[in-house]
């Protein structure tokens, strides 16, 4: 186990002013499972994309099996023996397993595919690694676990001009698997290691990482902040390394709590959620753990996962956006450009996207432009929406910067509590994503002001800084399951990190180091 198959030296990558990777150096040994841990935005995806040739690093070198890897070429990475199983599968549902695996392994000009040989090789490879699949099954009919096996087989498959991967990168492989499927995957990892393959295992689930990996590397803010053998790892230590040391957040002045303004019924395994007037309830979680479904139910796009209905001020609401708007729910969607705004329409029409038909703004089907534009102007002024200086309120919404678009959406939401009253409930889904520091502070202040005025706020966020700055109570969502919302001061950083990683509320005893054989 002494030779190094992969060596990353000083990898740095910037996107504009954002430093995604900052001087990262790592080595991977033959037959080793290296776990790469980190929050969203810590730089894991960027690092791995550089390794696989999707990006070119600004500085640093990569050596694979002792040879330098030409940057920026996925084909070179593939040829060098690096295979990657992405989190989002690139499979064609309408084609068979064999078809999906066979793609790209033979030169295009060959008059006939060696399908029989490929099928045999596929069965062989599957048996070697314990990945049971039927080569002729249609991928669309496979379970998620089976699809992942196909993705793994794609990487390991050796046929025609393609070599099987010797270094495999798995990006959040258990994010979509059931516990049983995860067990099956771990068994496969064991067999890969036995065959001398090396694995980089990206995850945010601590218990699994501790189970299968030999070494753990933690990224935070683009830097490698911890690297240690799994045997020496302590879950609490790792969790804190992931989320970092923070100055204890200033205690947020608690506002007078009013009645319950929103109730989300409990789902399968999930807690219910209640929000009172004057409080901010934050939902923490790593991206892709069910936030979309939760937000969708709270915004009236569809019924809650567990059945039943969302209640606002005690009234159950039908799953229709209009009903929610009328009930005083202010909604700030995650995708501001495709869902929050109609880019081609002018700012003033976007400002009224939810209220255009109200009596104040339209009568007998005719829009009352003057009040509408006055309302829009008020929003633009009050919420400091910049970008309309040149063309005024007729500026298309797509022309505004992200921060200003968000301010517009926020302004629309906060002034639209049905007939101009302040909103009853604000659902803010990743409201400060992609914004600069100034815009972030602004959005936070607006949310707090709305709270002071008596609204309840549900804040869905991946940013723990934001959550601790604003929340009265915090719940964590993981794999679609919502924990109970506990007061913010009852959460330690370690506990939240653990919950986000699926460790529930309890901390595992350290020292448990069952590795894959």
């Amino acid at each position: 186990m002494a030779d190094t198959v992969l060596r990353l030296q000083g990898i740095t990558k910037r996107f504009g002013s954002l430093v995604a990777n900052d001087g990262i150096s790592l080595a991977l040994e033959r037959g080793e499972v290296l776990a790469l841990l980190g929050e969203n935005g810590a730089g894991k995806s960027t690092l791995v994309s550089i390794l696989f040739g999707h990006y070119v690093a600004d500085a640093g070198t990569i050596e694979v099996f002792g040879r330098a890897l030409p940057p920026g070429q996925p084909r070179a990475a593939l040829a060098a023996g690096i295979g990657m199983v992405h989190q989002h599968f690139t499979l064609a549902d309408n084609l068979s397993v064999l078809d999906n695996v066979l793609l790209g392994t033979e030169p295009l000009w060959r008059p006939s595919s060696a399908r029989a040989a490929a099928r045999a090789t596929l069965r062989d490879t599957a048996a070697r690694f314990g990945l049971a699949v039927d080569p002729d099954a249609r991928v669309g009919e496979l379970s998620v676990g089976e699809r992942q096996r196909v993705e793994i087989l794609k990487a390991l498959f050796e046929h025609g001009t393609k070599r099987g991967a010797r270094i495999l990168i798995l990006d959040e492989p258990t994010a979509v698997l059931t516990p049983q499927e995860s067990e099956s995957l771990f068994a496969t990892l064991g067999r890969m290691v036995a065959e001398g393959l090396s694995i980089i295992f990206i995850s945010h689930k601590l218990d699994e990482v501790l189970r299968v990996s030999h070494r753990i590397a933690v990224l935070r803010g683009g830097r490698l902040v911890a690297e240690l053998p799994a045997a020496d790892a302590d879950t609490a230590l790792i969790a804190e390394a992931m989320v970092g040391r923070r100055v204890a957040p200033a205690v947020k002045r608690a506002y007078a709590l009013g009645e319950v303004v929103c109730e989300l019924p409990a789902g399968p395994g999930s807690s219910s959620l209640q929000v009172r007037a004057g409080e901010v309830v934050a939902i923490a979680g790593v991206a892709g753990n069910g936030q979309q479904a939760l937000a969708g139910a709270l915004c009236g796009e569809h019924a809650p996962a567990g059945g039943g209905a969302v209640k606002v001020r005690g009234q159950p609401l039908p799953a229709r956006p209009r009903a929610f708007v009328r009930a005083g729910v202010a909604r700030v969607p995650e995708d501001r450009q495709a869902v929050g705004l109609v880019g081609e329409l002018p700012v003033w029409e976007n400002a009224l996207l939810e209220r255009y038909a109200e009596p104040a703004f339209a009568r007998l089907g005719l829009r009352r432009r003057a009040p509408a534009q006055a309302h829009a102007r008020a929003i633009v002024e009050r919420f400091d929406v910049r970008g309309t200086e040149a063309a005024g309120l007729a500026t298309p919404a797509a022309a505004l910067s992200g921060g200003n678009q968000q301010k517009l959406i926020l302004g629309r939401a906060l002034t639209g509590g049905g007939d101009g009253r302040p909103p009853t409930l604000i659902v803010a889904d990743q409201p400060t994503w992609g914004l600069d520091v100034g815009a972030v502070a602004y959005v936070h202040q607006q949310l707090l002001d709305a709270c002071a005025a008596g609204a309840g706020v549900v804040l869905i966020s991946e940013d723990l800084d934001e959550i601790f700055a604003l929340a009265d109570r915090i719940a964590v969502i993981h794999a679609g399951v919502l924990t109970e919302a506990r007061p913010a001061r009852e959460w330690t950083l370690a506990a939240i990190g653990l919950a986000m990683a699926g460790g529930g509320g309890s901390v595992r005893p350290s020292g448990e180091t069952a590795h894959a054989a």
Partner: protein, 311 residues
């Protein structure tokens, strides 16, 4: 009733079925290739007109018939290249681009015809393909070589799609272009190639009309057959074998209505206007579309423009 049975037994009837089916087979295969790669090609109606005209013109100028077919294929390929440039290169709406090409191709063909033959009372004719009387197979020996070509192309296209690496790549860009790109394949290149090849087939479909079925070029030759092919592809679930079956089925009913029209006896003694018979093909295509719409296993990337590098 007995008349109908007699009809079904006559070789002439089945000969007509094959004759009607041939351009449909070729056209549907052409649309199938494009759509399998993820691109809708509504230019087929115009490309068939262009193919009909170019093929015929080349033969009229003295070339042999197969050169005419090649010229028609080339015309189709060129128009397909334009469509590829607009939809794959510039990511324009596939609907509008296709319709624009139909308009353009039809206009150009009509214009070119008029320029070449400014004063003609009856359309000039050529000597079309001769029936393959040397073939020992009944019914088939009343057809021309182009029909044989069409029938041979069905298993050939199926072979390419299902048994070659190129065919797999084409199918993949129509289902999940990101997967193809992940393997280092060029989505744009594959799509363009498929569109050009498919459009060449559409051109040949048009050439059949002027070089085999008839021997002259009429302005209203194609008469919606291109659109029928688009419907047939959906009906055939994008499979070449089913496309052949669909084309034959369609041609069967078309030939039937032609015969019934000619026989004049009406259906069950009721005299029906001949237009109703003529409408049957289009109505059938509509019905076929509606029937399969729900269950249609569309190529998943159909009509979604692919922007390289977007993940």
């Amino acid at each position: 009733m007995t008349e109908t049975l007699e009809l079904l037994g006559s070789a002439a009837f089945w000969g007509a079925v094959l004759r009607i089916a041939t351009p449909l087979i070729l056209g549907t295969l052409g649309v199938l290739l494009c759509e399998r790669a993820g691109v809708l090609n509504l230019g087929i109606e115009g490309i068939m007109v262009a193919g009909a005209f170019v093929g015929w013109l080349v033969v009229f100028q003295g070339a042999d018939l197969w050169t005419g077919v090649l010229a028609a294929a080339a015309a189709g390929a060129l128009l397909g290249l334009l469509h590829a440039g607009l939809t794959v290169g510039l990511a324009l709406s596939q609907h509008v681009s296709g319709l624009g090409i139909t308009l353009l191709a039809t206009a150009l063909a009509s214009y070119a015809y008029r320029v070449s033959f400014p004063k003609v009372d009856s359309p000039p004719t050529i000597t079309p393909f001769a029936p393959m009387t040397w073939l020992p197979v009944p019914v088939l020996n009343t057809q021309t070589a182009l029909t044989l070509l069409a029938l041979v192309l069905v298993p050939l296209v199926a072979w390419v799609l299902y048994r070659t690496p190129l065919g797999l790549a084409i199918r993949m860009v129509g289902e999940n272009p990101a997967a193809a790109e992940g393997q280092g394949l060029s989505v744009a290149g594959l799509r363009t190639g498929a569109i050009v090849a498919g459009s060449a087939l559409m051109g040949v479909a048009g050439a059949f009309l002027t070089l085999s079925a008839f021997n002259a070029f009429f302005f209203t030759m194609v008469n919606g057959r291109g659109w029928v092919c688009v419907a047939l592809v959906v009906f055939a679930s994008w499979r070449p074998g089913k496309a052949l079956a669909g084309a034959l089925l369609f041609a069967f009913f078309d030939a039937l209505q032609l015969r019934l029209q000619q026989a004049g006896g009406g259906v069950f003694g009721v005299e029906l206007p001949y237009q109703l018979y003529l409408a049957v093909p289009y109505l059938m295509a509509l019905v076929a579309l509606v029937l399969v719409a729900r269950r249609a296993a569309y190529p998943q990337a159909l009509m979604k423009p692919y922007r390289k590098g977007e993940r």
